[in-house]
Symmetry: C2
Subunit: 594 residues, 2 copies
């Protein structure tokens, strides 16, 4: 979706929206950390996130890669910066073709700073001289596909700011006129350069309106994080610093904590003033940091850790080809990035269900890389790489995870349990100790309000439902006992399969069981999570592979623990169990006397 | 669906299935009555119904028409008889092409009796000599499209039964061998000629199996309805009558009631014996009569008036092109035949929703004929054609209908209220008296068991839901009051439109509101009834037209009552009102102080 459309929708609804800007980190660990941070920040529903294009195109490949993963794996509407510096038109087109094919619809078109060590911007041969040329080119070559954002300079472009720190009136007006040309040529949104004098921004908006610029103008807010950085950045951008800010910072400049607190306070006050003037969009220059930006939004009441609202039980994709995806197998519930990554070639949603397309282009598990940041591997090594003397030691690992004593799990991408799992974690602990090693579950939900904090999704006014679900590994003997007991619990349906694809089930091969659904005013029933045999068969390969690829590989070759895990992997069944009676059922009752 | 597939499914599930045979009545009233009767009988879920082909093709056109309406309007899986008598191959093909294009998949292929006044069957030029030729032709020309049934003669074909009432062993064996050839050539099901000696039927089945006939053999049961008819039929078919039957009938032969009772008793006993021998199919020759056939099935425990099971809230279509239809607008809930009739050109279900195809081939109201039998017109005249002095008289009609004091309603095809309407009929009566003239409604249902007698559907093990719904005509003033009050009831959504298409609503034009849905084990959520603006717009023409075309037309030209109705028609709005809170809502609360 184009960011401009999201902003228009929010304006109609009277909602305030905000966005976050990031830059490409210099190290692999930095990239890992950025994605983890971004993932957390995206749970607060920014309208979009953008990623910068390093000076002189220095980060081109990394920026393209990050933009792709932001859009498709983190699932946030993404905007990529693109500059003319050192970019012949072929490179420009390559970048645009790449993001287009990755389902990204938003570009921030810039002239760009000169590359490091160079003083002034120089147009290269076969390249563009300015952002205006770039906007024109994008519209000419790609029509309406892209939403195009351009930069607005409330104090005029730094190039025309003289040594006394201000632009002449003429220079300022020329700059405004140039901005209008960028908009007239096809840009649909303006984000401003950072500023610390809110009145200058408000005057700038007013001046833009005076000369007929009608598109939204989003203020770019950069929270002050530390004193030196602040000076460097404002110096580079020739930003005016109001004297009261200088006065407030001077006495605390060596106390990083105090500077950050002041930065949050200042950012909050600036935003309050902007919002009070009827501007409903805020863009935060995060400098890849999380705390200050979130603190400001919390102060403004725009986010609430206890009220994370979800439009679906899983994070809705933003890729233009995939935005209609409306159903997912439950099996990947704790591995959403694995799911998205492996189905990334599926462009036809909601038709792209497993039954129709599992043979087409399902990615291999080896493709699935960046979603296992090194920090998680370390945690796994520490919590799961312990010596295993017997099967009971394995049972205990699973139990401890369910009881919250471990934070990591080889079968989960998440940090710790999902909030709803905590509703049933004691019961889960019990059955794990009995040798039913759970890797996925959900409690039954019978018509909770759709804005209830733990199980709600889809916004207010509706009711949500879940069938109780358990997925676990267990031995053949335990499985047979369980199946026997199932005959006394007619509302239970199960599917079980081992590594060699031996199959036991009491449902049809083509049955699709909706296990999460919601009823909303004036809407059809939404049923985003299902249990079905076709995708279970695909999932089981991944589920079994994790025993060796993720867990056993924590031990050296030949280690007895490793051998034990491989025995479990080849001897156990993977079982999917649904209690279809979400009103009166008790999924754990069938385990009670095993 | 082919009948053989339905029988195979039922055999797998161990269910007993039954079917009804009808013949084309001689008069138009007779046809009206047959359809009303068939409609009632079909509510007991026969696996199929068949319609005979008059001797010598005398009823060809009528049989084709009835078969079409059985399949498409009554919505029962239909089988058409087709005989060779007087039928050149072009006529055969025309008949088969016709039923194929009408979505019928089942044919009973017969040689046929000689036409009236002719002694023996004579092959006409360009025609077929026997059922075997016909079966061969159907398979050659239509491949696997049709399920083909043939007749089996437990006592051999009447033509080879000599004057002493029995066929020679050789004739019987030839007849069996001929039956095997019919099956080998492509018939997939056998229905037997009527019999009254069950042992003969059981021996016949056994003899068939001995020579390798493997398809199901369905016993044809003809309940004795009156003595003379019984003698005529058994004489014509040369059916053996066991002496105990003769002995039982002789003393009561002039008492029709006693004969019928005996017929029910005898039919029940015959069927019991057949079922006890592991045969799970029964075919009833109804002679277009209802009572005896249903009484036998009731005695056998195969039907229960208090437990009519519905697979959906509306009767599922059987037309091969339409069998996947899975959703309907609620507006035609009391006029299902009108709905089917007007959408009969829509072959693509479930894609054939209003939003996609309302412009394509929606039939005019004038096309809608046979669904208004003369008897209903008479009832309407009597109950609704009364002098109307004021608008209050109109309110009173509507109220009385809701209170069950009237049986007919211009806006309904049904006899009286739907069972679920009785849950809310007092409340409906109240608002009708206030001038909210209801023509459609349903109570809220919050997770009733899916086999509950009044609101259940879809079989056992699930839960069904409904949002409370009201549809009514009211004046503009009343509508405005109502809309004002709606602001205090945020769970209400409404659409209102008048004859001139003035529109008021608090929902989006493309919103589709599921108002009936069900949750079943190992299934996706089924949502068969919706409220949406697109189809409401189409429906409103029919709803407004009924004021004049059905109600006002009960009065002579110039009658003051007629004028009053026309005023209401042009001044009132049609309003559709949903309470989206099916858990805690009260749809009638908004009316309480109007």
């Amino acid at each position: 979706m184009k960011v401009i459309e999201k902003i228009r929708d929010s304006t109609l609804d009277g909602r305030v929206v905000f966005s976050f800007e990031f830059f490409p980190p210099k190290t692999e660990d930095g990239v890992d950390n950025l994605f983890e941070r971004m993932d957390r920040m995206v749970s607060h529903n920014p309208s979009f996130c953008d990623i910068t294009w390093g000076a002189g195109g220095s980060t081109a490949d990394l920026t393209l890669e990050i933009a792709n993963k932001m859009q498709n794996i983190v699932c946030v509407e993404s905007m990529m910066h693109l500059t003319c510096t050192n970019m012949p038109v072929e490179k420009i087109n390559h970048a645009l073709d790449t993001i287009k094919s990755n389902g990204i619809q938003n570009v921030l078109a810039l002239r760009g700073d000169p590359p490091h060590g160079q003083d002034k911007f120089v147009q290269i041969q076969g390249g563009f001289a300015c952002a205006l040329d770039l906007v024109k080119h994008i519209r000419e070559k790609y029509g309406d596909y892209f939403g195009i954002t351009v930069a607005g300079y409330p104090e005029a472009h730094p190039d025309v700011i003289s040594e006394n720190g201000v632009a002449t009136l003429e220079a300022y007006q020329n700059d405004l006129a140039y901005l209008k040309r960028k908009v007239d040529t096809g840009a649909d949104l303006i984000i401003t350069q950072l500023f610390y004098d809110t009145d200058i921004f408000l005057k700038f908006v007013n001046d833009c309106r005076q000369i007929g610029i009608k598109c939204p103008i989003v203020p770019g807010i950069m929270p002050i994080n530390n004193y030196k950085g602040f000076l460097r950045m404002t110096g580079f951008c020739k930003t005016k610093i109001p004297s009261e800010i200088t006065a407030a910072l001077e006495p605390i400049k060596d106390n990083d904590e105090a500077v950050r607190s002041y930065g949050i306070h200042l950012g909050t006050e600036m935003c309050k003033k902007i919002l009070a003037h009827g501007i409903n969009t805020l863009h935060l220059y995060t400098l890849n940091m999380e705390k200050s930006a979130l603190a400001i939004l919390k102060n403004l009441g725009l986010i609430d850790d206890n009220k994370i609202s979800r439009s679906l039980p899983w994070r809705r994709p933003t890729n233009i080809h995939r935005v209609k995806e409306d159903v997912r197998p439950i099996f990947w519930a704790n591995r959403p990035k694995s799911y998205i990554s492996r189905t990334i070639g599926w462009e036809q949603y909601p038709q792209g269900r497993w039954g129709d397309s599992c043979n087409a282009s399902y990615g291999a598990l080896t493709d699935y890389q960046f979603m296992r940041p090194r920090s998680r591997d370390k945690k796994l090594q520490e919590e799961w790489g312990v010596p295993l003397r017997s099967i009971e030691d394995i049972h205990e690992r699973f139990m401890n995870y369910c009881l919250g004593k471990l934070k990591s799990n080889p079968w989960s991408e998440l940090d710790g349990l999902q909030p709803e799992t905590k509703i049933i974690n004691e019961q889960l602990g019990n059955i794990n100790l009995k040798g039913f090693l759970t890797i996925n579950s959900q409690p039954a939900v019978n018509g909770e309000k759709s804005d209830s904090p733990v199980v709600g999704w889809g916004g207010p006014g509706g009711y949500v439902y879940q069938k109780a679900y358990l997925e676990f590994f267990c031995s053949r003997r335990k499985l047979e006992t369980l199946i026997e007991k199932c005959s006394n619990f007619p509302s239970l349906t199960y599917m079980a399969v081992n590594k060699d694809t031996q199959w036991m089930s009491n449902v049809g091969a083509s049955d699709v069981n909706a296990v999460t659904w919601g009823v909303f005013p004036a809407k059809e029933i939404i049923q985003p999570t299902v249990v079905d045999a076709t995708s279970f068969f695909v999932w089981k390969d991944e589920a079994f592979e994790i025993w060796s690829r993720v867990w056993a590989s924590l031990y050296p070759e030949g280690d007895p623990s490793r051998k034990l895990l491989e025995e479990v992997q080849s001897g156990h069944f993977l079982v999917s169990l649904v209690d279809n009676d979400y009103v009166n059922g008790d999924l754990f009752a069938v385990f009670s006397d095993i």
